[in-house]
C-alpha cells in the first residue's frame, strides 16, 4: 500500500464525493475498469478492510475516484479533506477490452465511474461511442458534470425531471437504440445487479459482446482471501478482484 494525498475534493449532489489523489504509480498504470483499495487512514482498524473503488480518471501523477456514501467506510472517507492522506493499493484487476469499433456505454448510478474512464480512452483512440447514464434521484443528475464535454450522452432519471427521460437507463436504451444500431457495437455496462441481469433480455444474442464491471464484497482485492466469489457460467466461481472486475456477460451468472 502507498499513501496518497487528497489534492482535490468535489461533491456531486447529495451522495457522491470525488477525490483527486496524488500517487504516481497508480496514475501512470491504471487502465479503464481497474480499481484500487482505499483505507481512510493508517492504523485505523474500524472500519477494518480497505474498500474497493473503480478508477475514474488517471493522468501523469494524479488519479481520481468517485464514491457514493452508503455506509461506514464511505461515510468516513467523505469527511476527509484536501491535504489528508489515504492509504491506497492498486491498480488492481482486469479492465475493459479496448478493441471496439463502436462502443455503447451503459451506466447505472455510481456505475458510471469506470465507464467515464473508458470513454476518455475511447476519445483518445478515436473510437466512437454513445454514453447512457441512468440515475435514481433528480439530485444525482449532478453526475452529468462528469460527462459535460463528451459527445453523444443521453440520460434518464427515475424521478420526473422536466425535459428529461423518466425511467431506467435500460428503458431509455429500449426507446432510442434500434437493433441495427447495437448489432455491430460492443456494449460496456456497470451498475446495480438488477440492471446488469436485464442486459441479456435487452440485447438478445449479444452476451459475448457485452462487458460488465461487477462489484462484490471484497477482503483483500488482490486474490488471497477468496472472499469475492461470484458464480461462473458452467459451474464454480470467479474471483471478482483477480479474474475481473470486468467480465463478459456470457462468463457469469448474475
Amino acid at each position: 500500500m502507498s499513501f496518497a494525498r487528497i489534492c482535490r475534493k468535489e461533491r456531486f449532489g447529495e451522495r457522491f464525493v470525488c477525490f483527486e489523489l496524488e500517487e504516481r504509480d497508480i496514475a501512470s498504470q491504471a487502465r479503464p475498469g481497474q480499481f484500487v483499495m482505499v483505507r481512510p487512514g493508517f492504523r485505523v482498524f474500524d472500519p477494518l478492510l480497505p474498500r474497493p473503488f473503480a478508477v475514474l480518471s488517471a493522468n501523469d501523477d494524479r488519479f481520481s475516484l468517485l464514491f457514493e456514501v452508503v455506509g461506514k467506510g464511505t461515510e468516513l472517507l467523505s469527511y476527509l479533506e484536501v491535504g489528508d492522506v489515504v492509504e491506497v493499493l492498486g491498480p488492481l484487476g482486469r479492465g475493459f477490452s479496448l478493441d471496439a469499433r463502436f462502443g455503447i456505454l451503459l451506466a447505472g448510478g455510481r456505475g458510471l465511474v469506470p465507464l467515464v474512464f473508458l470513454a476518455r480512452e475511447f476519445e483518445k483512440r478515436g473510437i466512437l461511442f454513445s454514453f447512457f447514464l441512468g440515475v435514481r434521484k433528480r439530485k444525482d443528475l449532478a453526475l452529468l458534470r462528469l460527462l459535460e464535454d463528451l459527445p453523444r450522452v443521453l440520460w434518464s432519471c427515475e424521478e420526473a425531471v422536466s425535459g428529461g427521460f423518466c425511467g431506467t437507463v435500460l428503458d431509455l436504451v429500449g426507446k432510442c437504440l434500434e437493433r441495427a444500431l447495437w448489432q455491430g457495437a460492443k456494449i460496456y455496462a456497470c451498475g446495480p445487479e438488477g440492471m446488469l441481469r436485464e442486459l441479456a433480455t435487452v440485447f438478445p444474442g449479444k452476451e459475448e459482446d457485452i462487458e460488465v464491471a461487477l462489484e462484490a464484497r471484497m477482503g483483500c482485492g488482490f486474490g488471497v482471501c477468496l472472499g469475492c466469489a461470484i458464480p461462473r457460467r458452467g459451474g464454480g466461481y470467479w474471483h471478482v478482484c483477480s479474474d475481473g472486475p470486468v467480465f463478459r456477460l456470457s462468463e457469469v451468472v448474475l
Binding site: M1, R39, R43, F45, D46, P47, L48, L49, P50, E87, L89, A216, R217, M218, G219, C220, F222, G223, V224, C225, L226, G227, C228, A229, I230, P231, G235, G236, Y237, S242
Partner: protein, 301 residues
C-alpha cells in the same frame, strides 16, 4: 540482534508467520512484500481434490472484525504442486502447508503426497475450520476421531507436524494430551471463532451456512487468553495468532509464551502488514536493549 526462534526441531529466522488463507499460495501476495524476510509462509488449506467453497456472500465486516465463510475453496494438492511449488521452491523462508479433508483418509492422502516434496518444511493440520460441515472443527469435538486423525497423519509423513486448533468448549487437557501422544510437534492457536450475523432487513442469516468464522482485532484478547492457557498446559511450541495487526499485538502473544506469531486478517487490510510487524518487533527489542528475541518469549506468565 538474534530474531531466530526454534519450534522443537524447526528453526525460523524470525517469529513472524503468514497465516493460512490470507496469503494465497504465496505468489499472489509476493508483489507486495518480500516473503524472504519472514519466518514462514502458510499456504491456503489444501485438500486431495479441488474444492469450490461456499456460495457468496463469503465475507462480512463487523466492528473491528471480519466474518468469513470461504468454505476452504482450494485448487487441490495436484494443481498446487504443478502451479505453485516452483515459486515456493525459489523462496528463502519456511514453507508450511495447511491441509484438510472430509475424512481421515483424505488428510492422509494429502499428507503422503506432500511428504514426498522436499521443499515443504511443515504440514499444518487444520482441525478447526468453522466453515465446512465435515472435517474441520468436527475433529475437535471428538477426542477419539482426533486421535485417529493425528496418529494416521503422523504415520504418513516425517514432516514437521503442526496442528491448528480453534476455540471449543471441551476440556483442553484431553485434547492436548492426545496431540502430544500422537506426535504433533507444534500447535497453531487459533483459527477463527464460530460467529454469526443476521440481516434484519431480509430477516435471514447473512451467510448460507448460517455461521462463519470471526477473525481480526475483535478476537485478539480471546485468542491471547487461549494461547496463554495452552502454554501453561503443554511443552509443545505454539504459534499464536488471532487479531494480530501491529507489532504490539504480536509482542503480547510472544510475551505470554507463543514461540511464533501468525498474521492473518492483517494481510487483507494491508498486504505488507507482516513486514511492518517484524520491523516493529525489531524496534521494540532495540528500545528495550534486548539482543535476543528468546529473552522475550514467555516473560509474562
Amino acid at each position: 540482534m538474534n530474531l531466530s526462534v526454534t519450534l522443537g526441531r524447526m528453526t525460523l529466522k524470525n517469529p513472524v508467520v503468514l497465516a493460512s488463507g490470507t496469503c494465497g499460495y504465496g505468489r499472489e501476495i509476493a508483489p507486495y512484500l518480500d516473503l524472504n524476510t519472514l519466518g514462514a509462509i502458510t499456504v491456503k488449506g489444501l485438500s486431495l481434490f479441488p474444492w469450490e467453497g461456499n456460495p457468496p456472500p463469503r465475507l462480512f465486516e463487523v466492528r473491528a472484525g471480519l466474518l468469513n465463510s470461504i468454505g476452504l475453496e482450494n485448487k487441490g494438492v495436484e494443481r498446487f504442486l504443478q502451479e505453485d511449488l516452483p515459486f515456493l521452491e525459489a523462496l528463502d523462508t519456511r514453507v508450511f502447508v495447511n491441509i484438510w479433508g472430509k475424512t481421515v483418509e483424505e488428510y492422509v492422502a494429502v499428507a503422503r503426497k506432500l511428504d514426498a516434496i522436499e521443499r515443504i518444511d511443515a504440514l499444518e493440520l487444520n482441525v478447526s475450520c468453522p466453515n465446512v460441515e465435515k472435517g474441520g472443527a468436527s475433529f475437535l469435538l471428538d477426542p477419539e476421531a482426533l486421535r485417529e486423525l493425528v496418529g494416521r497423519v503422523r504415520e504418513a509423513t516425517g514432516k514437521f507436524l503442526i496442528v491448528k486448533l480453534g476455540p471449543k468448549l471441551q476440556d483442553w487437557e484431553v485434547t492436548v494430551r492426545i496431540l502430544e501422544e500422537e506426535g504433533a510437534e507444534a500447535l497453531s492457536v487459533t483459527n477463527s471463532f464460530p460467529a454469526m450475523v443476521v440481516d434484519v432487513e431480509r430477516m435471514d442469516f447473512v451467510f448460507a451456512m448460517k455461521s462463519a468464522g470471526l477473525s481480526g482485532p475483535a478476537i485478539k484478547p480471546l485468542a491471547l487468553k487461549m494461547v496463554y492457557d495452552l502454554v501453561g498446559m503443554t511443552e509443545l511450541p505454539i504459534i499464536g495468532m488471532g487479531g494480530i495487526m501491529t507489532a504490539e499485538d504480536a509482542l503480547e502473544f510472544l510475551l505470554v509464551g507463543a514461540r511464533a506469531v501468525g498474521v492473518g486478517t492483517a494481510n487483507l487490510v494491508a498486504p505488507s502488514s507482516a513486514v511492518d510487524i517484524l520491523e516493529g518487533i525489531k524496534a521494540y527489542l532495540l528500545r528495550k536493549d534486548m539482543e535476543n528475541i528468546e529473552d522475550l518469549i514467555g516473560r509474562v506468565r
